[in-house]
């Protein structure tokens, strides 16, 4: 593990301060390039937004799975897991067909005269957020569901028995106990989102907000390894900072151990 994962990262960091010349020129160059900094902000902002959407949608979904009858629950889990087995490229192309100006949604709305001119769906921030949510939702649903399954429903019944209204019982008993699942899922979704390339490339507007991975591709194609490595290092630092903060504040490591280890 150390050989395959850590060593290439060490090489990357080393290269970022040695290629083409020793020093921090690559980092200075990145900080002084508006399109690069914008890409970093876009990457962070979009990943955070998608994490939020996945948290809301995923929580409701996991809740439905948790309290559905076994047969429905299995169906719901299958519905969220099955697409995850289909290639990201294939699913992104499918979304393209659905979203584009001459796509299914626009044609349907035009046909029934709900709109007179096509809606701009594709090549927008909306399309990127939608696409990323589609790809990442399973990674939110699973840990949340796993934690929810470990919560004894009798606690909620007990709260109700002591006079709490259902909403209060949920908010004060069930939700706090299920939060660890949200933290774990949120972390996975956020960190995975930072590395997205295909979705923003095919569904994004490729003008204002390009992902860091797209920005870097330009320079890697020209074999500017040093500059590319510097950008990679910046993203690595952001990711590690996120992980470290999460580990300290939310104790995510323990949650992950409990939710995944405990299920076996």
């Amino acid at each position: 593990m150390v050989f395959f994962f850590a060593w290439p990262l060490v090489q990357m960091v080393f290269r970022s301060v040695t290629d083409p010349e020793p020093g921090f020129d690559n980092y200075v160059r990145f900080a002084q390039t508006p399109s690069g900094v914008r890409s970093l902000l876009e990457t962070l902002g979009m990943s955070a937004l998608v994490t939020l959407i996945c948290a809301v949608v995923g929580y409701v979904y996991a809740y439905a799975v948790r309290f559905a009858s076994p047969r429905i629950a299995a169906l719901l889990l299958f519905a969220v897991l099955f697409p995850a087995g289909v290639n990201v490229l294939v699913r992104t192309f499918a979304l393209q067909v659905v979203l584009r100006d001459t796509g299914i949604i626009n044609q349907l709305l035009l046909r029934v005269h709900l709109i007179n001119e096509h809606l701009t769906l594709i090549r927008t921030e909306f399309a990127v957020a939608l696409g990323m949510t589609c790809m990442l939702l399973p990674y939110m649903v699973l840990p949340v569901y796993s934690v929810m399954r470990g919560i004894n429903p009798e606690y909620v019944q007990a709260a109700a028995g002591l006079g709490a209204r259902p909403v209060v019982a949920f908010l004060r008993v069930f939700l706090p106990m299920s939060l660890p699942g949200l933290y774990a899922g949120g972390l996975i979704v956020f960190v995975a989102g930072l590395g997205f390339y295909v979705v923003p490339q095919l569904l994004g507007n490729n003008a204002g907000g390009r992902f860091l991975s797209q920005y870097t591709a330009d320079y890697m194609a020209q074999a500017e390894w040093g500059y590319g490595s510097a950008i990679g290092t910046v993203l690595l630092l952001v990711t590690l900072t996120t992980l470290a903060t999460a580990a300290r504040v939310l104790k995510v490591g323990e949650i992950l151990r409990r939710s995944f280890g405990g299920a076996r």
Binding site: T33, P34, S35, R38, S39, R100, D101, T102, G103, I122, R123, Q201, N206, A207, G208, G209, R210, Y215, D218, M220, A221, Q222, A223, E224, W225, R264
Partner: protein
């Protein structure tokens, strides 16, 4: 848990299959052999790729007994990485015009052996010290014939006139930034022979006038798809992509005015163990008798001026329209300039694009 175990086994099986598949392909070129039995040549697939196989690869195998294996397209960066790591996965690559220049190609590419390859018959601007064009292609203007009420756009100035010709525009901003800038400068009234030194700001200012209407794309198929679906009404496209759409019945047509012409350069990675067979291949496909046969199954113009292209599609070949305004992207003057200023051009373009 019983079910989990089944899933584990399935995953294990999948991993094994993928590993075997990955090992099976693509390593044929890495073992040096005294007599080459197979060559890995870039083949980007599609109609273009199957036509290459038919007109170039199979006849070469028939003549020499050397098998041709389809290889992936490699960017200049990937070619450099391959040479640095000495893992020769592809023997005949497509370097960009910038890489095939004497200054840039020295440490990355084998010089083309012009004792084997006959360059006296090749069109000017289609061969360099480190690259020889297999064919000539062009970026031209494709447009929808069903969106402008009978009016026909013909020049880059029309492309930038979204009042007269409404709708979005496709441009290869993720593929060929210089070609985008050339189109903008031609639209702004710059003569093709006055493009240098490249006035990037002037080009960007011109592009700003239609910025919100531009859809940037990366690959030829994406650009073609945008025009086919009608999401854009005009596009700077690979010419063959437009004519093949038209031939398939889409309401599109092409304008050759201001086309950006370029050669598809072939090169050989420096130190490749199959260099001599690769040179033999390049000589074969650019020879008079072979080079023109490609145009009988795809709209690629021959780089060998003595060869005979398909008379039926002569009108769809970039080389037929060189009497009109055009830019030769792979000409040494333009390529040298772009190579020398590539970083500043790309950065200026990216900063403008993201602002």
């Amino acid at each position: 848990m019983k079910r989990a175990k089944g899933v584990d086994r399935l995953v294990g099986l999948l991993v094994a299959v993928v590993t075997i598949a990955a090992c099976g392909g693509g390593n044929s070129a890495s073992t040096p052999t005294s007599s080459t039995k197979s060559l890995v040549v870039v083949n980007t697939g599609g109609d273009w790729g199957s036509c290459q196989r038919k007109s170039f690869f199979e006849p070469f195998t028939a003549k020499t007994g050397i098998q041709i294996i389809d290889g992936p397209f490699l960017t200049d960066g990937q070619i450099k990485a391959m040479v640095q790591s000495k893992q020769y996965n592809v023997d005949v690559v497509y370097p960009s015009a910038n890489l095939a220049l004497p200054s840039a190609g020295k440490n990355v590419l084998e010089p083309i052996d012009y004792k084997v390859v006959n360059n006296s018959e090749l069109a000017a601007g289609t061969f360099t010290t480190y690259g020889t064009s297999i064919d000539i292609y062009a970026w031209a203007m494709g447009y929808r014939t069903d969106k402008f009420g009978g009016q026909t756009p013909s020049t880059w100035a029309d492309f930038f006139d979204t009042k007269k010709f409404p709708g979005k525009r496709a441009m290869p901003g993720d593929n060929d930034v210089p070609a985008v800038l050339y189109a903008a400068l031609l639209a702004d009234g710059v003569a093709p022979d006055k493009l240098l030194p490249l006035d990037v700001n002037r080009a960007l200012n011109k592009l700003s006038t239609i910025k919100s209407s531009i859809v940037w794309y990366a690959t030829g198929s994406q650009g073609q798809d945008l025009l086919k679906s009608g999401e854009v009404t005009m596009g700077q496209e690979y010419a063959n992509r437009v004519t093949s759409l038209r031939d398939a019945g889409s309401p599109v047509d092409i304008s050759w005015d201001g086309q950006v012409v370029a050669g598809d350069l072939m090169g050989v990675p420096k130190g490749d163990p199959n260099t001599s067979a690769a040179m033999q291949f390049i000589a074969f496909v650019t020879s008079k008798d072979v080079n023109g046969t490609f145009s009988f199954c795809a709209a690629g113009a021959p780089s060998n001026v003595k060869s005979t292209p398909n008379p039926k599609i002569a009108n769809d070949l970039p080389t037929t329209h060189l009497n009109q305004t055009h830019v030769v992207e792979t000409s040494e003057a333009l390529a040298e300039y772009v190579a020398a200023h590539f970083d500043s051009i790309t950065t200026a373009f990216n900063n403008w694009r993201s602002s």
